[in-house]
Structure formats: structure tokens, C-alpha cells
């Protein structure tokens, strides 16, 4: 047992610098133990202010109805559902990183999974706001739950994709939260055992559930993580599939396409990774975690972005081709007139979407550009603007001109309160993220320690003599079964 697990020296290290286990703890727990920086306070207060504006916007909407958002009879879904789909999409990267990459044994996930999972949970919280408040009479929101009510009982319609969505989103939120928190328990115990202050010991004592680090507990914990990952993998694919069913199972021209499920899932991963980049590029800088979230991590995520961006591009082109080639006049009209025609009222948004999502990520075919931090940050924001417009194009350009020209909408633009609601969810998202980055270890401590001796820069040279050994000796001495 010279080494826990062998990893070729050819692979770049995932943890840079000279580290031992204690140093890893120090580096990652330090930001929690010190007072927050001035920058943190500024960011936090701005987020809270945005959140409060969001609360006021929602108050206006509840008081006066969804007309307050400039929705009308033709455009019943505007910014609100656009934002819903956008946030849900962002919420896909965390579970993808923590679940699918765990099953694929991708070591680099350990540096980014904790923050990405947190981001997922906050994004899904933001997403959930939109369909709920969009109901208008929000005090009747509980009607979506299947319970024996006093009107019959009249049950919910289990055949409706909108109800599938209720199940999908709430399951996704619950499972992501449990997965994230069960991973956090051991790390919170580390913070507890280092705590000097009484309140900190008390608080982290409660949060860490009395974790001791017993071998039996770790064995169960590993098994739990693996099964949760196995369950989350089809779950994460199902969630955006179900969201796409909200559109695809209808007969509205522009929505009635079978390509939606895979196309939505690819887009979700695409925008989710972009948001992970946005957050982590700032987090690693501010919390000085460049040795854990290395340029390698950023490059790998940029590769995912160019891959998924290209999948999305293929989906756009396929959709366009089918609209032109297919026999459905209405479908073709929605594409050729409402979208492709640059001079139609919303034509510009189609081209903005194409530019941001399909063309711009292609620069990541170049290694040098993938490893450029400033460019990555810029691109991560561009991608999310593009993905927002994708949902806007799908929703608004499909509904603003329906079968009856007399009810074609005049130009729809959101009111300040509809925009305010969107900004409010940014406030919610960043308020949560700021609190998370202050009070929780933003990197999975135990997981980093687990890979330290095979992927740490300091331990890499130890791999050299092993690489020179014959395959047979290597198999006998170094490999071990899980």
C-alpha cells in the first residue's frame, strides 16, 4: 500500500503547491474563520437590495395581477417563464458535476462540485418562484398538490406536463439538497472541531449532526453518495426533459417538436457550466483558492461549454431544417417569419441567441483561449445572455402571433416590475451564494484530501518510478479494487 490510487504523471495535478492534509484544511476553512472582507459586505448588501426590490415587485404583481408584468391575452408567458426555464437550466450543472462526473470517476470534479451543487440549489429556488407567482392567485398554489380536497375530491391532472413539472422540480430540489448536505456533514465537522469561538462550536455542532469520521460511517457515506449519484444522473436529465415537455406536448407552432428534450438538456448543461465559471472565477480569486480551482479545472469546463454549445447549435439548425423541410405550414411560418426574419419584431433576439450560443463558444477550440481567465469570464456571461434569449425566442416568438391575426400582439416589452422580479431572483441567488461562501467550506474538504496523494502536485513525482515499472508489477503492487 505505497499509494492509495495511482494516477499517471502525465495528467496535470489537480491540487497545486506543497500541501499536506492539514494545509488543505487551513486553506479551505480559513475564509470561514476570519471576518468577511469589505468586498463581501458590498456584494452581500447589493444582493439583499436586489432581493428587496424583487419582493416589492412580487407584491405589486400579487396586488394587481399578472397584467402588472405587461402580459396580455396573446402573450401569457413572457419574461416569467423565460426566467423559470433559464434558472432551471443553470441549476443543471451542479448535479451534473457531482453525479455524472462521480460515476465517470472524473477526479477534477472534487475542486468544483461543492460550489456547483450549492449554485444548483439556489438556482432551483429562484426558478421555482416564477411558476408560483405566475399563478396570480398565489394563495391557491397548493392546488397543484394531489390531496383529497373538498371539491369532490377533484384530483390534479396526472396527464398534464405542468403537473409533471411540479413533481420534477420539487424532486430535483429535494434530492440536490440532500446530496449536497450529506456531502457537507463531514466538512462541517472539520470546521466544528477547529472552532475556538463558542457560538461557532455550537452552530457547526448542530449542523454537522455529531459526525465522528468512523470508518463504518465513511463506508456507508461512500455507498450513499454513489447511489445518490446514480439516481441523480437520470434525474438531472429528466428534469429539463420534463420542462421541455411543457412546450413540446402542446401544438403551438414553434413548440411542437420532438427534438426539445435533448436540446433543452444540452442547453441546460451549457448554461449551467457557464454560471459555474462565472461564480468560481470570482470565488477562487477572492478566497485565494487558485491552487484548488486551477486553470486545468477552468479549461476542462470550457471544453464542456464548447461541446454542449455545439450540440445546442446542431439542435437549432435541425429545428430550422425541419421547419423548412416539414409539411407543417404553421411551424414553418413561426420559424421563417417570427424568428429568421431579422426585421420581424423579435427577429433580433434569434440572431443574438445564435451569436452567443453557437458562434461565440467556438473560440474554445483553441487551448490558449480556453486557458485565458479574463476571456472565460466574459464568455461565461455571454453564454448566459445567449441562453436567456434562447428561452425568450422559444416562448415569445412562438406565442406573439398565433392562428388568429386579429389577436396578434402589439410589441411586448416587460414592465419594470417584471424586470424587477427577475432582478429579485438574482438578489436571492447571490444572497444565498454570499452566505454559503462565508459560512460553508466552498470546496469539498474530504474529497480533496481523498485525491491529494494521487493528484497533488507535491505527490506527482512519486508516480515516476511506478510508470517505469512493467504492467505486471504495477498490477500486483499498486492497483486495488473498490
Amino acid at each position: 500500500m505505497a499509494l492509495l490510487k495511482y494516477e499517471s504523471n502525465v495528467r496535470p495535478p489537480l491540487v497545486e503547491g506543497k500541501k499536506d492534509y492539514h494545509q488543505v484544511t487551513e486553506d479551505i476553512v480559513r475564509p470561514i474563520e476570519g471576518p468577511p472582507s469589505k468586498l463581501w459586505w458590498i456584494g452581500f448588501l447589493v444582493s439583499v437590495a436586489l432581493l428587496l426590490f424583487g419582493v416589492y415587485s412580487v407584491y405589486r404583481e400579487v396586488t394587481y395581477g399578472v397584467g402588472e408584468w405587461n402580459l396580455n391575452k396573446t402573450i401569457g408567458w413572457g419574461w416569467d417563464i423565460t426566467n423559470f426555464v433559464w434558472w432551471v437550466g443553470i441549476g443543471h450543472a451542479g448535479t451534473l458535476i457531482s453525479a455524472i462526473l462521480l460515476l465517470f470517476r472524473q477526479g477534477w470534479r472534487t475542486g468544483v462540485n461543492r460550489a456547483a451543487e450549492a449554485m444548483t440549489i439556489f438556482a432551483v429556488m429562484c426558478a421555482g418562484q416564477f411558476p408560483i407567482w405566475h399563478m396570480g392567485r398565489v394563495w391557491m398554489a397548493f392546488f397543484v398538490l394531489p390531496y383529497p380536497n373538498t371539491r369532490g375530491p377533484l384530483w390534479v391532472n396526472f396527464n398534464s406536463p405542468l403537473l409533471w413539472d411540479v413533481f420534477a422540480i420539487s424532486t430535483y430540489f429535494t434530492v440536490s439538497l440532500l446530496f449536497w448536505y450529506s456531502g457537507l456533514i463531514p466538512d462541517l465537522a472539520t470546521v466544528r472541531d477547529r472552532a475556538k469561538l463558542k457560538w461557532r462550536k455550537y452552530m457547526y455542532g448542530l449542523l454537522s449532526f455529531g459526525w465522528t469520521g468512523s470508518t463504518k460511517h465513511w463506508q456507508r457515506h461512500e455507498s450513499l453518495s454513489l447511489v445518490l449519484a446514480g439516481l441523480s444522473t437520470p434525474l438531472v436529465l429528466s428534469v429539463h426533459t420534463v420542462v421541455s415537455f411543457d412546450f413540446a406536448t402542446s401544438i403551438v407552432p414553434g413548440w411542437h417538436t420532438t427534438i426539445f428534450p435533448p436540446y433543452f438538456v444540452a442547453g441546460a448543461i451549457f448554461s449551467g457550466f457557464a454560471m459555474v465559471q462565472t461564480l468560481l472565477l470570482v470565488t477562487r480569486k477572492v478566497l485565494k483558492l487558485e491552487e484548488y480551482i486551477t486553470i486545468e479545472h477552468i479549461e476542462v469546463m470550457n471544453k464542456v461549454i464548447v461541446l454542449t454549445g455545439s450540440i445546442v447549435g446542431i439542435a437549432y439548425l435541425t429545428e430550422l431544417f425541419i421547419a423548412w423541410y416539414g409539411m407543417n405550414k404553421y411551424e414553418s411560418w413561426a420559424f421563417m417569419h417570427n424568428r429568421l426574419d431579422l426585421f420581424s419584431p423579435y427577429g433580433w433576439s434569434y440572431y443574438l441567441m445564435m451569436g452567443c450560443n453557437v458562434l461565440s463558444p467556438q473560440i474554445f477550440w483553441f487551448r490558449k483561449l480556453r486557458r485565458n481567465i479574463g476571456l472565460t469570464f466574459f464568455m461565461s456571461i455571454l453564454v448566459n445572455i445567449g441562453m436567456w434569449f434562447e428561452r425568450f425566442v422559444i416562448i415569445v416568438t412562438s406565442v406573439y402571433r398565433d392562428y388568429l391575426p386579429s389577436s396578434w400582439s402589439t410589441y411586448y416589452s416587460p414592465s419594470i416590475y417584471e424586470v424587477g422580479f427577475y432582478l429579485g431572483t438574482f438578489g436571492l441567488f447571490f444572497t444565498c451564494y454570499f452566505l454559503f461562501s462565508k459560512f460553508f467550506p466552498v470546496i469539498a474538504l474530504a474529497e480533496i484530501k481523498h485525491i491529494l496523494k494521487k493528484s497533488g502536485e507535491d505527490f506527482k513525482p512519486a508516480m515516476e518510478p511506478i510508470e517505469e515499472e512493467s504492467a505486471e508489477t504495477f498490477y500486483k503492487e499498486v492497483s486495488h479494487h473498490h
Binding site: M1, P146, N159, T171, K198, S214, K216, L231
Partner: protein, 191 residues
């Protein structure tokens, strides 16, 4: 649970720990547990622990979720309140697949996490004895339970020879009790 006496040795290297565990078992000492800051693959095998069957529990919860969702929707739409939706069949199995799937995953995850917490006795306000506060940081802490026949000095020497950097004898509660980590007072003792 009663208090027991333990000889506690702390290790810094995985390789040394693995050998020490093997030696301790060979010598016939009663190995209570090993506490580590992260999961060490293979340690459970070396310690002679059996595999966990928590995944089997997960499977059972999953099956429960699928059958509950299917039978509930069937009952609602074919018996309790059959709705005519565009003349489509009341028993609309394909349309129920998404909800059956989501509910399966939900039951399996929630059930497994609760089972995990129950088996490991994890909950807020649960307090346990910690043999070493660095066991969640950078030390691998081995606790050997003393039986009436055990010679503490001998076990301590044994652990030192096996490569422990720190050895001591502790009187400790093996179960959990209700308390918080800022106070040592036992508010309630588990039986």
C-alpha cells in the same frame, strides 16, 4: 451505554495505518474503530468490516415509490374520479411515467438519507465522544477497547511500535447523548 476504556493511537500515514490495523487484528486486540478525516478505500476490508447494505435499502424505497405512484394514479383516474380528457383512456400509463420516475427517485433518496442518518446516529443535538479533535483534520485515529484482561501499557507500546505518533488512554462513552458541542454537559443519556 456504559463508559469504557480505550487505548487511542494517532497515525499520519495511510500506509502505516493499514499495517498497524493488520498487526492489531493479528495480535488479537479488540479494535473499536478507526476515525479518519476522509474515506480511505480498503480500510474497511482491512478492519474486517462487512459491506454496507444501505444500497439494498435504497432499492426497496425505490420500488415502494414506483408502486405507490402507479397505484395511486390508477386509483384516482380509473376508480375515484375518472375524468374524460378528450376521450383518451383513463388508464394512461405512458403519461404517468414521468411522475412514477420522479417519485421513485424521491422515495429512494429521502429514504436512504434517513436510513444513513439512523444507522450512523446522526442528527442535530447529537453529541458523541471524540477521541481526537484532529481526526477530522489530518490524523487517522485508532481506538482499541480495553477488556478486563488488557494491559494498557502493553497496548500503548504496541501502538507506538506500529508507528503511532501519539498514544493515550481515554475513558469514553461509546453511545451518543443529547448535547451541543460548546458544552460538555450531558442533557440526556441514551440507553
Amino acid at each position: 451505554m456504559a463508559e469504557k476504556k480505550f487505548v487511542v493511537g494517532s497515525f499520519t500515514e495511510e500506509a502505516v495505518l493499514f499495517d498497524a490495523v493488520k498487526k492489531v487484528r493479528k495480535a488479537g486486540y479488540k479494535l473499536h474503530d478507526v476515525y479518519t478525516p476522509f474515506p480511505i478505500h480498503g480500510l474497511d476490508k482491512v478492519m474486517g468490516l462487512r459491506d454496507t447494505s444501505i444500497h439494498t435499502a435504497g432499492f426497496i424505497y425505490a420500488i415502494f415509490g414506483t408502486t405507490t405512484a402507479l397505484s395511486f394514479m390508477t386509483w384516482v383516474f380509473t376508480k375515484d374520479w375518472p375524468l374524460n380528457i378528450g376521450g383518451k383512456p383513463h388508464f394512461a400509463l405512458p403519461a404517468w411515467v414521468p411522475i412514477m420516475f420522479e417519485f421513485t427517485v424521491l422515495c429512494a433518496c429521502v429514504g436512504m438519507v434517513l436510513t444513513f442518518c439512523y444507522l450512523c446516529q446522526l442528527a442535530p443535538f447529537v453529541k458523541k465522544h471524540h477521541f481526537h479533535e484532529r481526526a477530522t483534520d489530518d490524523l487517522f485515529v485508532m481506538a482499541i477497547e480495553c477488556t478486563p484482561k488488557t494491559n494498557e501499557g502493553e497496548v500503548s507500546g504496541f501502538l507506538n511500535n506500529a508507528g503511532a505518533i501519539e498514544v493515550n488512554v481515554q475513558q469514553a462513552e461509546t453511545g451518543w447523548w443529547l448535547g451541543t458541542y460548546d458544552k460538555d454537559k450531558k442533557m440526556f443519556e441514551s440507553k
